[in-house]
Symmetry: C2
Subunit: 390 residues, 2 copies
C-alpha cells in the first residue's frame, strides 16, 4: 500500500485522493487514512482542493516537499552526481572526470565530495537516501562490487556501506547500466516501455534488461554483460583476458585503440593530425574526423556498429524486446553509428520481432544515471520498513 501509493505520486503526482483510490482500487477513506499516516512520516502531504469535477471536491496529494535523494552514477572515466526531489526532478548536478582504476577509496572520496557540494548547493543537511551505479557487476543484495574486469581493487569492496557512512543515509548499489536503464524508463524515451533493452556503449559495453517494467538482474546479478559475448574466435585481447569479446572490438577503448593505429599507420591524415595535436586519441576524436570527411573514421564507426548489430540481432531473436535504447559516450558519434547498428539488427532478425522495434539513441545524457540511481533508492525508501522491498 505505502510503496504503491508513493510510487504513484513519484511517477505521476500530484494526484487527487479520488485518483489514488481509483488507481489502487481501494476506498477514499482508506486513502485518506494512509495519506495522514504518510504525512506523519514526512513522506506525503495534502496540497489543497483538486479542480472541481461537479460534485464534492477531492483533495490533492503530493510527496512531501522536503524529500531529497542523491544519485551517483560512476562510469569508467567520469561520474555524475545529483540531488533530486521526491519525484526525482533533478535540482542540481555535478560531473567530474575520474579513472575507475584508481580504486574504490579515491573514486568514492571524489563521489562523496561532489555529493556534499551538491547537497550544500541545495541547502540539504541530510538526504533520505542515495543510489549508486558502478561500471561493473554488483552483488545487489550485499551492496558490493564483484570481480569487475575493468575495476582493479573493487572486487568485494563494500561500496554501499562506505557511501552510507559518508552521507549518513541508506544506500542502494547497482550496475551503472541498470541505473541508466531505469533512468531512461523514468524520464527518457523508455517511459512507455514495459520490456526493453538499454545498451550502453562507453569505454566498455553493457546492457540493462527491463522485463514487465522491472529490472532483470539474473541469478548472480550479472545479466546484461554483453560486452564479453564473443563475436569472433580470435581478435584483440579484452580487458577480461579473453579474446574476441564484443567490447574489445566496439567499446570506446577499442575505438580509441583502432583510431590510434590508423593514425600511426598513415591510413587517416585527419586522425594523424589529431594525434599529433593531442598526444592521444579517444573515441570522440573519431567523431571529429568523421565531421572533417575522413573515410577511415567512417569505416571505424561502421565496423563497430556492425559488431554491435550482430549481437543485438541475436538478443532480439531471443528476447523480443519492444524497444532498444542506445546510450553511453560513444553515441556522441551519432547517427552513422546508429544507422549501422539498425541496419544489421533489422536485417538479421526475423520480421516478426523487428516489425515494431524502435532502436533509438538515449536523450538523457549524464542526467539519466543520476535519475536512475535516485529512483532505485526512492523505491527502497518508499517501501515500508521491514517489507524487504527494493
Amino acid at each position: 500500500m505505502q510503496a504503491r501509493l508513493l510510487a504513484h505520486l513519484r511517477d505521476d503526482g500530484p494526484l487527487s485522493r479520488v485518483q489514488l483510490a481509483d488507481r489502487m482500487n481501494v476506498s477514499r477513506t482508506t486513502i485518506a487514512a494512509e495519506v495522514n499516516r504518510l504525512g506523519e512520516l514526512g513522506l506525503a502531504h495534502e496540497v489543497g482542493p483538486a479542480a472541481s469535477r461537479g460534485g464534492r471536491r477531492s483533495t490533492m496529494v503530493d510527496l512531501a516537499p522536503g524529500i531529497r535523494f542523491v544519485g551517483i552514477s560512476i562510469g569508467a572515466t567520469g561520474m555524475s552526481v545529483g540531488v533530486t526531489d521526491g519525484r526525482l526532478a533533478v535540482l542540481a548536478t555535478r560531473t567530474r572526470e575520474c579513472d575507475i582504476r584508481q580504486g574504490p577509496e579515491a573514486v568514492l572520496a571524489t563521489a562523496l565530495e561532489l555529493a556534499r557540494e551538491t547537497l550544500e548547493e541545495c541547502g540539504v543537511e541530510r538526504p533520505m537516501g542515495a543510489g549508486v551505479g558502478v561500471p561493473g557487476p554488483v552483488d545487489f543484495h550485499r551492496g558490493v562490487s564483484v570481480s569487475p574486469p575493468i575495476m582493479p581493487g573493487w572486487d568485494g569492496y563494500p561500496v554501499r556501506d562506505a557511501v552510507s557512512r559518508g552521507l549518513g543515509c541508506p544506500v542502494v548499489l547497482d550496475n551503472d547500466v541498470n541505473v541508466l536503464a531505469i533512468g531512461e524508463q523514468h524520464a527518457g524515451v523508455a517511459r512507455a516501455a514495459r520490456d526493453f533493452l538499454y545498451v550502453k556503449i562507453g569505454t566498455g559495453i553493457g546492457c540493462g534488461i527491463v522485463v514487465d517494467g522491472e529490472l532483470y538482474r539474473g541469478v548472480d546479478g550479472c545479466a546484461g554483460d554483453i560486452g564479453h559475448i564473443r563475436v569472433q574466435d580470435f581478435g584483440p585481447t579484452c580487458a577480461c583476458g579473453n579474446t574476441g569479446c564484443l567490447e574489445a572490438f566496439s567499446g570506446g577503448a577499442a575505438l580509441a585503440r583502432d583510431a590510434t593505429e590508423a593514425a600511426r599507420a598513415g591510413r587517416s591524415p585527419v586522425l594523424a593530425e589529431l594525434l599529433a595535436e593531442k598526444g592521444e586519441l579517444t573515441a570522440a576524436d573519431i567523431g571529429i574526423a568523421v565531421s572533417r570527411g575522413d573515410a577511415q573514421a567512417v569505416q571505424l564507426i561502421r565496423d563497430s556498429g556492425h559488431r554491435v548489430g550482430q549481437v543485438l540481432a541475436s538478443l532480439v531473436s531471443f528476447f523480443n524486446p519492444g524497444l532498444i535504447v542506445i546510450g553511453g559516450r560513444v553515441t556522441g558519434l551519432g547517427h552513422a553509428l546508429l544507422a549501422e547498428i539498425r541496419g544489421v539488427t533489422y536485417r538479421r532478425s526475423l520480421p516478426l520481432a523487428t516489425g515494431n522495434l524502435p532502436i533509438v539513441l538515449s536523450e538523457l545524457g549524464d542526467e539519466g544515471g543520476v535519475i536512475g540511481a535516485a529512483r532505485l533508492i526512492s523505491s527502497s525508501v518508499y517501501a515500508p520498513l521491514g517489507s524487504g522491498a527494493s
Copy 2:
C-alpha cells in the same frame, strides 16, 4: 485469492486449512469460506482431518477429484496428447507421428481424435480445459499461429477456437517450447528454478524463457526464437529463407542432411550402411552410428553441439540464468552432445555467470509437453471468471 489457493493445491496439495492460511497470509476463517465456495464450483473439497499437531485438528483440502485437463503437444514430426487430473498427474497419454506440413486441418483432426480416445479411456465426458503447444510462433492472446517458418498453411489459423469447438471446453494455445519449459518447471528438473532456459533441439531449435517463475513471451510473443540466430555469415539455407541460422547447422533436420551427405560421400561406412538399409537417415541414426564407433558421426554431433554452445554462451552472458535444460528429440544423441554444449558454453562465458550454472538434459520426454500444456490451461481455469488471468 481463488487462483492462488488453487495453484497451491495444484503444485503442493493436498494442504490443511492451516497450511493454506499460512501460505496465503489470510485467516483460517477466510480459507474455510473460500474452500466452501470453491466446493460449490466443483473445484476443491475437504478430504478429512489433518494429522494432529497437538491442538485442534485442521482439515485437509484438495482439488476436486473430478477435474480433468487435456494437454496436446504438437511437434514438427510427432504429437503427444494426454489427460491429467487437477494436480496435473498424467492419467493416460497417446503419441503419434505426424507431419506439421500437412496443415492445420489434418494435424488438428489427428490431435482431436487422440484426445477423444484418451478421454474415453479415462471415462471423461468433458474436460475442464485443454492446453495446446505448436512448433512455431503464436499470438498468445488471439490463440492463433503467426508466420511459422516450418508450418506452411498455419499462418493466422485459429487453432485455439478449432480445438475449443472440437472438445467443448476452453483452450489456451502456446508455442511448443514454452509448453515444454513450463512442464519442466512443474514436474521436471526445473522444479526449484525461478530463472531458467529450456532449449529444445528437435527438427528445429527454440528456447523457453522463465523469469521469476513465469514464462516470458516477449512483446510480440516470439521471444526464444534462437533457431534463427545467425551463427555464421554464410552457410546452408534455413527453412526461414535466410542463411547461417543456428537451426540450419544444428537442428535435427540439419543433422539428418549432414549425415546423408557423409554417407553418400563415403566418409562414413556405418551411415552409408544405415542409409542403404532405411532409404533415408534421421538424426537418431547418427546416435546409432556413434554407438557403432563411427568417427564421422561423433564429429557431426560435436559440430552441432559446438554451434549450440556458441549461442548459449551469448545467452548466458546476457540472461545469467540459474539453469539450462536441454530437451527435444536430438537429446537422444545423449552425452556426447551435452558434453560439447557444456564445454563451449562454460569456456565462452564469464566465470561469474557459469560458476553455479547446471546444464542438464530434460528427463520428462514426451510427457513434459502434456504436463506443460495442461498446466497452462489449469492456470486459466483456476483464475476466477472475468479476472483476465492466464
